[in-house]
């Protein structure tokens, strides 16, 4: 069985120009507290958005 992205599972994504995908979540991710991590500093901090639509 694959690893499951459960709650608080840490991940990151990278994709090229033109990549298209559909994300289905249980709620609007903009409205919930979450953490993003700075690998260099090894320290998480709260985030609002890092992938704003352009």
């Amino acid at each position: 069985m694959p690893a499951t992205y459960d709650i608080r599972a840490i991940h990151n994504i990278e994709f090229p120009d033109g990549a298209r995908f559909v994300r289905v979540t249980g709620t609007d991710l903009e409205r919930i507290p979450a953490l993003k991590f700075d690998v260099a500093k090894a320290s998480p901090r709260s985030r609002k958005r890092f992938d704003r639509p352009r």
Binding site: I10, F15, G18
Partner: protein, 195 residues
């Protein structure tokens, strides 16, 4: 078929039209993603299985989840911390390509002819499901989590490199802990993963 009676009200439909194309009165129903309530069957809210076209697709080993149907897939979505009926409950959403059975999902919804950007296609608080189509320029996100939410992602075109991280230590305070890479894989068109 309209999935929410609330949007039958033209005023509500107009207000939601920017975020929800299906709410546009008289609008074309092609090229539309809609979510309908799924079952609470635990077999596909575990995050390890997807219900696809009448059967369960289960990934094995380190292989990414794959399904070939471009028309529909149910992806588990779980939330917690909500109040009222259904608090802490699990809900499932179904992605459908809309009303045209001839159009595959990626063509109907994620075609290159469609404008870029990230769009909400449907939000229904009653079933706690959101669908977002991401069409953006090349991006590499920093490691992050999505709080208390389990969701799914389905690749339509090109690819997405996914990296899973593990946080060391049990200290949950902001600013504490260290992370390391656990697993890396690539989602190709037709692959589905969880986030």
């Amino acid at each position: 078929m309209r999935t929410s009676g609330r949007h039958a009200d033209p005023a509500v439909a107009r207000r939601c039209s920017k975020a929800c194309r299906s709410a546009v009165p008289g609008g074309s129903r092609k090229s539309r993603t809609r979510l309908v309530p799924g079952s609470d069957d635990a077999s596909y809210i575990t995050g390890a299985e997807l219900y696809v076209d009448g059967g369960f697709w289960r990934s094995e080993g380190d292989q990414a989840m794959t399904y070939h149907s471009m028309r529909s897939a149910r992806i588990a979505a779980r939330t917690k911390g909500r109040s009222g009926p259904g608090a802490g409950a699990r809900r499932c959403g179904k992605i459908s390509s809309g009303c045209s059975p001839r159009l595959p999902f990626s063509t109907a919804t994620c075609s290159r002819r469609r404008p870029g950007g990230t769009r909400f296609t449907r939000t229904r608080s009653s079933i706690l499901s959101c669908s977002r189509i991401s069409i953006r320029r090349a991006t590499k996100s920093p490691p992050h989590d999505h709080g208390g939410v389990l969701g799914g992602v389905r690749q339509a075109t090109h690819y997405t490199d996914m990296t899973e991280w593990r946080r060391h230590g049990s200290d949950e305070r902001p600013g504490a802990g260290r992370i390391e890479v656990v697993r890396q894989y690539r989602l190709e068109p037709g692959h589905a993963g969880h986030l």
